[in-house]
Symmetry: C2
Subunit: 584 residues, 2 copies
Amino acid sequence: MYRSHTCGELRASHINKEVTLAGWVQKSRDKGFVIWVDVRDRYGVTQLIFDEDRTPKELLEKAKTLGREFVIQATGTVIERASKNSKMETGAVEVLVTQLEILNQAKLPPFTIEDETDGGEDIRMKYRYLDIRRNPVKESLIFRHKVAMEVRKYLSDQEFIEVETPYLIKSTPEGARDFVVPSRMNEGQFYALPQSPQTFKQLLMVGGMDKYFQIVKCFRDEDLRADRQPEFTQIDCEMAFVEQDDILNVFEGLTRHLLKEIKDVEVAMFPRMLYDDAMRIYGNDKPDIRFGMEFGELNKVAQHKEFKVFNDAELVVGIAVPGGASYTRKEIDKLIDWVRRPQVGALGMIYVKCNEDGSFKSSVDKFYDQEDLAKWAEITGAKAGDLICVLSGETNKVRAQLSALRMELAERLGLRDPKVFAPLWILDFPLLELDEETGHYHAMHHPFTSPKSGQLELLETAPGEVKANAYDLVLNGNEIGGGSIRIHDKEMQATMLKHLGFTEEDAKAQFGFLMDAFEYGAPPHGGLAFGLDRLVAILGGQETIRDFIAFPKNNSGRDVMIDAPAAIDATQLKELSIKLDMDA
Amino acid sequence: MYRSHTCGELRASHINKEVTLAGWVQKSRDKGFVIWVDVRDRYGVTQLIFDEDRTPKELLEKAKTLGREFVIQATGTVIERASKNSKMETGAVEVLVTQLEILNQAKLPPFTIEDETDGGEDIRMKYRYLDIRRNPVKESLIFRHKVAMEVRKYLSDQEFIEVETPYLIKSTPEGARDFVVPSRMNEGQFYALPQSPQTFKQLLMVGGMDKYFQIVKCFRDEDLRADRQPEFTQIDCEMAFVEQDDILNVFEGLTRHLLKEIKDVEVAMFPRMLYDDAMRIYGNDKPDIRFGMEFGELNKVAQHKEFKVFNDAELVVGIAVPGGASYTRKEIDKLIDWVRRPQVGALGMIYVKCNEDGSFKSSVDKFYDQEDLAKWAEITGAKAGDLICVLSGETNKVRAQLSALRMELAERLGLRDPKVFAPLWILDFPLLELDEETGHYHAMHHPFTSPKSGQLELLETAPGEVKANAYDLVLNGNEIGGGSIRIHDKEMQATMLKHLGFTEEDAKAQFGFLMDAFEYGAPPHGGLAFGLDRLVAILGGQETIRDFIAFPKNNSGRDVMIDAPAAIDATQLKELSIKLDMDA
């Protein structure tokens, strides 16, 4: 061992002890007659001291050669520090060095290894191993480990078994694109990397392994939006002989346990809300309920006058912005510009100032009197001093627009406190989703989700209205997980695949093994999956997941540190029976 | 929840309780007036009873329709069993059923779901989900989970951090073949799946994360020998600021912990043996030391007579087979045939019977007298009643042959007791290995392994003699893990890659990021990896790993259950900018 103690360990109680430390030079201050060197490892920083009186000249000279990030080993005596540093855990002491080894030299790093660095995103990604030396990244990775360990302990204690499912599986065109892997031994054939272990966990249920979990990498070859990774980690779970409530209870218990153990936050029963209600009240299936600003639907009280914009709208809906009555005309104009941005897409915004004296001032005073506006205030819950923002149009669109505005305003008003945790179950998601481009319905969750009991017949007549036994767990406005009760009957699964546009042949080719399995005694089952990257980031009070991933890829799916992907040898291609087919 | 209790839970203390069970019909016995149905879940089996006296007729009729592996839910009263079954944990009671639901029917399974099944390997692989219902497979998967949890707990308690390294990395032609993944977003480029997280864990050390571990899938596109899988799981570890002994101590501690926690076996300090000694004493770098039969080298006492075979041999070496003097001529001839098989490859075998009266009878009495043979007995440790088997020839070959014979005899003699655990460290492996085909040396462990101090200069003059800071942990004749102290100096790494035949350009293209990292303050570091599949199998007292993997692939790398790999769509190929290049 190169050290007797870590750099985070020494205290006043160690004074007069001989110790050996090893680590990186954080910084050194050379006053000529005395040199202080801060040495850092994973556990902390300790100050070394060399001085003319007590240090041999040769050693003092050696200390002068130390540069930032040199790797050193120093032996010496722990002494009391003349001027203690109460901000450092080791700040009561320093080490008077008697032996110094330079274990490795270091070039000047391309950015400072400090909590606040001068390095931009790109350079930090390229030198990720240096970025990991910085406390915020290092602590994020350690935090992730702790969360994963707690998940495993909790689920193991509840008799869940972690089972490793295969990574080399079969491609299914359904859903997102697969990454594929050419098979050398099976010419012209490909494996696919799993988008999730979905079918395998269902087969484990058929196999009687009635409580399964796995923390597992999954892969999706998507065009990457910001903060998406081609490989990501799921906490994947499945249970047999359970109903929806049993699953919600177990994973609510897990989440509550994590909040308690990791954040020391106690949360009571998680509220449960129907999907339809979430859309009506928040315009969003993953509402942030750390704050109010609930939607008030105004059709009844806004479509009786001559204001054509509202009269033609499918939905007129508003929110009350706390304290917004004090916004200047300019500020409100900026807000209107904000909702008109293409990313939001509203055509305009009507507003009502709720004055402190109880009167109202709106941008549609021409059409609506004080009595009308008082009703709007009542429905949106606006109080004196608030601003009511009203959007109108096609229901789905206007809900999305107002939801975006609600989140933006909450952000500006500081209502999204990262120290507050507001979990929420959303239940009864639609089974199917209309693809506006193709006019086809596809599975909102996945093709194995069961419709709510008694709704199967609706599939023929009103497919968009069928609700599923599907649920999401939302935390602070982020979906951290979702799942469903699965179909466990071969006939129903066949019907579902038919409705999703699979020919009988395709269904058999892709999911034949699952439907076969359903014939040999499949139990009722269901499950869910949490996104670990996101969960960890939210528990860590962050919005972006990248710092919680040791070696993330950039938005083009590249690892810029190792420079992957890359070209491969012609012989490799030949062995795999493939060749490149590049556009000219 | 479909059940109030599991099928393994009910005891005499539950008598008169109303319970609901759910599970699979293991078997039913219909005596006409009474029907017993054994219902099984993951936790055990419970007997249900329906009879004419107490069961409504309709329910009795329904019970008669139950087939093997039907999924049922039964509610009833726990009653005392007339004839108790002490072999069943629930054998004191049965459930008098009052309600029966058939949750799912089942076709007759293609093999019996019993501890001893009539299903062959192929059919069990195809219906793996049914095989998992069988106790031996189910228990193996649960056992694997327990081992993995204990590993995680132990290493976490020692401040190791589990860090997830990426699966989509870069291909390196060194070592085994990579599986590659075409990148859609980076035309003509490929990711590779990791053969191990080797370079990433070294970068984590450069990043200051000084105790890393990960239980992680790795991938090798090899022609599969029996009991190898294209994807396999490693317990991967790395530490910084340590020497070889520190690493051995930590992972010896882990292994000892597993043996104690999982098998309730206490093992003292693991013996440590040099590679050269292991080869000399056991002819093998992973000797099974549960039994003796150590090699005795006989050159000095066998090359002084007229026996040309021995005189021409580089090595003459024998082992003593306990009790082998009683073998008949026919048995010994069979043994000679066995060593002559092409898989072993010896040209012949000389034997000496050590008679109970102290005399010797050998197949070379023509050349050697009793005094000679007494010396052989002394050197091989043969006692009266033993048989000495002697092989001769080229050192490496004859050691391998005698090692094979030693293992075979131990197997036949019942000396390889799966309940005994004999771990052993092998140290100081050669750094390089000669490829007999190409005449080139390649890294025996991998190109990042450091040579033993002071041996670097030997690289030029006698590359085969350079020893490495490399070690294996052997358990009962199986290598369960290995590792090394790594190079952490850029110059030494460059020298090593040069000696392994890398051009400077290739070295930079493939490992440039690692050598760059070594310039920014790389600490001394090293680590090791255990093969989890093998470790679990050995701890479970088994020789084959397949039952400890939920969904294994066959020897052609196929998953016969889901039928992967498979052809993919033309559009998928097009998007990936590749096309098939099949032989005509």
